[in-house]
C-alpha cells in the first residue's frame, strides 16, 4: 500500500540550528496518525514541511504519491491544514470566507458546508476576526471538511474548543476518515484525543522520531511491574535487558520495561522477589517513559529555569 505521506531522511535547519533530522515517516492511506512530542519537538515544522510551506534542507517528501516541489498548487487543493494558532485574518465575514473557499477547492461540497456552519454554531454575518479562537478553529474545520481533502493535517485542533464543539469536531474527523478514506495526521498535546482517534502513532523528540507504528502494538510493547523484595531491590535488576526505569521505595520497586515481560519477571523471582504484579500503563505513562528513556526530565527543565 502506498503511503499518503512519506518522508525519507528529512532534515530542517533554522538559522543554522537543526530542528528536524533523520526523519523517516510513512503515514498509510486511510489511517489516522497521532503525532505527539513535548513542546519544541518539531511537530509544527514537520506539518509545515508536509504542506510544502517549508522546504527541507535534506531528504525527500512525497505527498499523495507526488514529490513535493517548489510549486504545489494542485496538491494544495487535496491537502488541508487546520491549526489552532493562526494569526493573520483577512477582513471577511464568515459567509464570505466560506464562499471564497468554495471557489478555491474543486471538490467543494456546498450542502456539507452549510450543515457544518450550523452544527459548529458559526454565524455567517460575523467578521472572522471577531470570532473567538475556538470559533476560528471550528471555521477552519468546516472549510477543511467541505473541501473533501485526501490528506488532513491537524495542529492542536481541539485547543480552545468547548466540550460539545470538540466532540462534534472529533466525530467529523472520524467520519471523514471512515466515509471518504481521508488520511489524517493529528498533532496534539491531548493524549486522550490521540488515543481515541488514532490507529497509528509517531513520537517526536528533539527533532527526530523515537517511536512510530501501530498504536496497539506500541501500547502492547511497554509494561510496568510492581515487585516486592525481602530487602532492598537489587541493582542487578537495572541491568536487565529491556528495563527502561526502576523506581525504588524501600522494598517495593516499580519497573518499567520495553519488550517481553517474562524474562524480567523471571529475573526478579531469581533475585528473591516475593511478589511480582503487572500494573496498568496508559499512553500518557508510555509517552513519559519513552521521553525519560531519551534522558528528558522535568527536573532538568527546572534546573534550566533557575
Amino acid at each position: 500500500m502506498m503511503a499518503a505521506l512519506q518522508m525519507e531522511d528529512v532534515g530542517k535547519r533554522f538559522r543554522g540550528e537543526s530542528v528536524l533530522h533523520d526523519v523517516t515517516w510513512a503515514v498509510p492511506h486511510g489511517s489516522v496518525c497521532g503525532l505527539i512530542g513535548p513542546n519544541g519537538a518539531g511537530k509544527t515544522t514537520l506539518l509545515r514541511l508536509a504542506l510544502g510551506l517549508l522546504v527541507p534542507d535534506a531528504g525527500a517528501i512525497e505527498v499523495l504519491g507526488a514529490p513535493l516541489a517548489v510549486e504545489n498548487a494542485g496538491l494544495r487543493q487535496r491537502v488541508h491544514y487546520v491549526a489552532s494558532e493562526r494569526a493573520q485574518v483577512p477582513p471577511l465575514r464568515v459567509g464570505e470566507w466560506v464562499r471564497y473557499a468554495s471557489l478555491a477547492y474543486p471538490r467543494w461540497d456546498p450542502p456539507r458546508a452549510a450543515r457544518l456552519l450550523e452544527a459548529l454554531e458559526l454565524p455567517r454575518r460575523r467578521l472572522v476576526r471577531e470570532l473567538s479562537a475556538g470559533q476560528r478553529t471550528s471555521l477552519q474545520f468546516a472549510v477543511a471538511a467541505a473541501s473533501r481533502p485526501d490528506l488532513l493535517l491537524l495542529d492542536e485542533p481541539t485547543n480552545g474548543l468547548d466540550v460539545l464543539v470538540k466532540s462534534r469536531v472529533l466525530q467529523l474527523v472520524i467520519d471523514m476518515a471512515a466515509a471518504e478514506g481521508t488520511t489524517v495526521v493529528i498533532a496534539s498535546h491531548n493524549i486522550e484525543d490521540v488515543e481515541r482517534l488514532a490507529d497509528r502513532l509517531a513520537v517526536l523528540y528533539n527533532g527526530s522520531f523515537i517511536a512510530q507504528g501501530d498504536i496497539d502494538a506500541i501500547k502492547a510493547g511497554m509494561h510496568r511491574l510492581q515487585v516486592v523484595f525481602p530487602g532492598e531491590c537489587p541493582t542487578a535488576i537495572d541491568q536487565q535487558p529491556h528495563v527502561v526505569r526502576v523506581e525504588r521505595q524501600g522494598k517495593v520497586a516499580t519497573i518499567t520495561l520495553e519488550g517481553p515481560v517474562e524474562p524480567v519477571e523471571q529475573a526478579c523471582r531469581a533475585h528473591g522477589a516475593v511478589l511480582v504484579e503487572p500494573l496498568d500503563l496508559d499512553l500518557t505513562d508510555i509517552f513519559r517513559a519513552m521521553l525519560e528513556k531519551e534522558g528528558y526530565t522535568r527536573a532538568k527543565l527546572q534546573w534550566d529555569a533557575q
Binding site: 488515543e195 481515541r196 496508559d282
Partner: protein
C-alpha cells in the same frame, strides 16, 4: 445498543468493542437478525478510530457473532458451532483453574464455590430476563 469503550484502558480498544458486543448478545440485548451499526456509524458514535472498529468487526465475523450481508448491512448471526470450539472450551477451563487458585487463597471450600457459582448464574439469568422484557 449501548456500548462504551475507554481508550485509556490498557485493554486494546478493538477488544473492548469485541467483548462489549459479545456481552450484549449473551445477555440477549441483541438477537439473531438484529442490525448492528456500520463501521462508520459506530466509529462516529463512540468517537474512536474506524480502522479499530473494522478490526473488531473482522474478529466478530470470524467468531461467527456477526455477519455482513452485501448491500444490506451487518447483522447478528445465527448461533452455530464454532470451528475452534474445542480450543475455546479449553480457554474457559483455564480461566476456571485461575479462579480455583484465587479461591484457595481465600479459603473458599468446594461447596462455597458451587454456591457462589449458583448465585452468579441466577443473577445472570435475571439480567437476561430484564434485557428481553
Amino acid at each position: 445498543m449501548r456500548l462504551s469503550v475507554n481508550p485509556r484502558s490498557p485493554k486494546p480498544v478493538y477488544l473492548q468493542v469485541v467483548d462489549g458486543l459479545k456481552e450484549a448478545v449473551a445477555k440477549g440485548l441483541l438477537a439473531q437478525g438484529d442490525r448492528v451499526p456500520s463501521v462508520r456509524e459506530l466509529a462516529a458514535e463512540l468517537t474512536i478510530n474506524h480502522n479499530t472498529v473494522a478490526r473488531a468487526y473482522q474478529e466478530l465475523e470470524r467468531d461467527g457473532v456477526i455477519e455482513v450481508v452485501r448491500g444490506q448491512g451487518t447483522f447478528i448471526a445465527a448461533a452455530r458451532p464454532a470451528a475452534d470450539r474445542a480450543a475455546r472450551v479449553e480457554a474457559v477451563a483455564a480461566r476456571m483453574r485461575e479462579m480455583l487458585i484465587e479461591a484457595h487463597h481465600l479459603q473458599l471450600t468446594e461447596e462455597d464455590l458451587l454456591a457462589l457459582f449458583r448465585t452468579t448464574l441466577a443473577e445472570w439469568r435475571d439480567e437476561r430476563r430484564r434485557a428481553r422484557s
